[in-house]
């Protein structure tokens, strides 16, 4: 089965879901989400069976990287995240129905819900194309497919002012960052005369490359990419947009969009980092961005009272660790199994598990308390020991406690930084990780310790599939935390 058929299947699934929504009379529109979940499970299985055709001469392969295990891994991230987003969306459907436009007379009472499940499928296809894109044109169109579907999804709750505000902010800032990206691409094309990344890499590493112009192109592209992954000083949109979006979409943004942003980041910065005349300055800029992001993300997370906002700052902090890995490219000549690309991929795999777990718990708690404040987690252990346990694992992993996947993520990043002699960066990273311990474990402590003044005390019901998804995620966090080769092995 050829690699590119996966995206075709995902798009076809999305179309089927749209058509079912339009033409089949369903009593409960959540069944549309079930179609998507089943389909995505099949696609995830197919990921292990795809192969690149032998003949990759045709023009298609100029836009789509052939034979790339990293791309496959990132496609796995996209598919899994979309799957969990659909599960969360099904849990969240009551809020969606309440806060989109009113149903017309005689229309289905759940009008507008079908599209909420169908749109993430197209986003998923876009993310998968991003993972494989090796041409400026395909990077751009795939990125725009993802971004435009996010504009819609973020603003989906039309009758909720927060969601609309988030949508407008995301739209304006996203359009601005796209402008920077295209301008940077134009410069890159002007310097190298090509849109294909392999050719660009070749041209940039030749000694007579125009260094000033190349660095300017890199700076412009960096602005856009830092915006997409939420690195300081282009992170300001993250807390507001994360807080305002529907919870499943926040999870989607913080995992899939960030992961896809990083694979583009890796691909676009690789030619610059491989060029002898540019690598010094590029690394310097990346180091500054990493230090800023680590400090701002971690320190600003400490006083947060709203759980979604806390996770938003935490996602900025994790972007800091990821840029830190990127800024620690090994010194030339030292052979090392752990390249920044491997470390970033591992980190994102671990980040996927723990963040999705946190969001799943949050979606369930949110549906029973109607509040996203940290106070509503007080005494959660009494109301639902299972949810509290899941949250504890997720927080421990996000903080980076040994035996969890998050520990090895941070460990590998620090190891890379030490090997690259980036001491200042390493200091900022350790400071950030220490701050992380405080705010992640503060939540864990409040769930277990303060049970006397909890506002509500009824137990929380969890449906079977959500519980199953949580158990899988918990097991995966421990498995990757005990043997990180489980994830790294997938890359080779």
């Amino acid at each position: 089965m050829p690699v590119y058929s996966l995206e075709i299947i995902v798009v076809a699934l999305g179309l089927v879901m749209l058509l079912v929504d339009a033409f089949v009379n369903l009593t409960d529109k959540r069944s549309i989400a079930w179609i998507g979940m089943l389909g995505l499970l099949v696609v995830f299985g197919l990921l292990f069976m795809v192969e690149t055709p032998e003949n990759t001469d045709s023009v298609f392969w100029k836009f789509y990287a052939p034979d790339d295990s990293y791309a496959l891994f990132f496609k796995g991230i996209a598919v899994l995240t979309t799957l969990v987003v659909l599960i969360m969306g099904a849990n969240f459907s009551k809020v969606v129905v309440e806060q989109t436009a009113a149903a017309a007379k005689g229309a289905h009472p759940q009008a507008g819900l079908g599209e909420f499940f169908a749109l993430p499928m197209f986003t998923c296809a876009g993310l998968m194309w991003m993972a494989s894109a090796n041409n400026l044109v395909s990077i751009f169109v795939a990125l725009e497919t993802v971004t435009i579907s996010f504009y819609v999804l973020v603003a989906y709750l039309r009758r909720n002012v927060g969601s609309l505000e988030a949508g407008v902010k995301y739209l304006i800032l996203g359009a601005l960052s796209t402008g920077f990206l295209v301008y940077g691409f134009a410069w890159l094309f002007g310097i190298t005369g090509s849109m294909e990344l392999p050719v660009i890499a070749e041209k940039l590493s030749s000694p007579d490359v125009n260094a000033t112009a190349s660095l300017f192109a890199f700076a412009l592209i960096l602005v856009a990419l830092a915006f997409k992954v939420g690195a300081a000083p282009f992170h300001l949109w993250i807390p507001d947009v994360y807080q305002g979006s529907p919870t499943p979409i926040t999870a989607f943004l913080s995992v899939a969009s960030k992961a896809a942003g990083f694979i583009i980041f890796l691909r676009l910065s690789a030619p610059f980092l491989a060029s002898g005349s540019l690598v010094g300055k590029v690394t310097f800029v990346l180091t500054i961005i990493a230090i800023l992001t680590l400090l701002i993300g971690n320190l600003a997370a400490m006083p947060q009272k709203n759980f979604k906002r806390l996770l938003a700052y935490s996602s900025i902090a994790h972007a800091g660790f990821l840029v830190m890995a990127l800024a620690s490219s090994p010194v030339k000549g030292t052979a090392n199994a752990l390249t920044p690309a491997t470390v970033i991929t591992f980190y994102l795999g671990a980040y996927l598990l723990m963040t999705l777990l946190a969001f799943l718990v949050m979606a369930v708690v949110r549906s029973s308390t109607t509040s996203e404040d940290l106070d509503s987690y007080k005494g959660l252990a009494k109301r639902s020991p299972f949810l509290a346990f899941a949250m504890l694992i997720s927080m421990a992993s996000l903080a980076g406690i040994p035996l969890t996947a998050g520990f090895f993520g941070k460990f590998f990043v620090f190891k890379l930084a030490a090997e690259a002699h980036q001491w200042l960066l390493l200091g900022a990273g350790i400071l950030g990780a220490a701050a992380g311990f405080y705010y992640y474990l503060k939540i864990a402590a409040s769930m277990f310790l303060s049970d006397s003044d909890s506002p509500e005390s009824e137990p929380i019901a969890i449906d079977g599939i959500t519980r199953f998804a949580m158990i899988i995620l918990i097991v995966a966090i421990f498995a990757a935390g005990i043997n990180p080769n489980l994830i790294i092995g997938l890359l080779t």
Partner: protein, 169 residues
């Protein structure tokens, strides 16, 4: 030719500033038309005739007419005068000036503009028009991005319906 370039570049820039500066939405829309005309002329000077013509036909023609219709129909009121806080204005102005300075330095120091980029190639013989060449390239070399753009437009259509219909069916 350089003389014409500066005239049309100035036209595009003045139009762009007008879009932001005018308080009346109709004036803003017309400034946008001016800006598009300037841009179209720049494209034509670069021998990109089709892009230039499309800029006028599609953007200045169809899309701007639609914009004006909507502004007139909704009777969008004039924007209120808002005073920018001093430091916001200072910061924004500073960033704009710094970026302009950077561009001036960049353009004077790099020789990128002196290079000639390859002309449009198409398998059809010489003398075929721009439209022909671009069409052929799009559907032979660039067919994959075109398909992705198709999905993008589908997403945008679904999104517009969901976000803007008064009552959902």
């Amino acid at each position: 030719m350089t003389f014409l370039f500066f005239i049309f570049a100035a036209l595009a820039l003045i139009g762009g500033i007008g879009v932001v500066a005018f308080k009346n939405p109709v004036s803003s829309a017309f400034s946008m038309v001016v800006s598009f005309l300037g841009l179209a002329a720049l494209f034509i000077q670069l021998n990109a005739f089709l892009v230039g013509v499309l800029q006028i036909l599609v953007y200045a023609g169809a899309i701007m007419v639609l914009f004006l219709f909507i502004i007139m129909l909704l009777d969008v009121p004039q924007e209120e005068k808002k005073k920018l806080p001093f430091f916001t204005a200072l910061g924004a102005g500073g960033i704009v000036l710094a970026f302009i300075a950077l561009l001036v330095v960049m353009l004077s120091r790099s020789e990128v503009g002196d290079k000639t980029l390859p002309a449009l190639e198409a398998t059809s013989g010489p003398g075929t028009s721009d439209v022909h060449k671009i069409g052929e390239l799009l559907f032979s070399q660039y067919w994959f991005p075109i398909q992705v753009v198709g999905i993008l437009l589908l997403v945008a259509t679904v999104g517009v319906v969901v976000l803007s219909k008064r009552e959902l069916k």
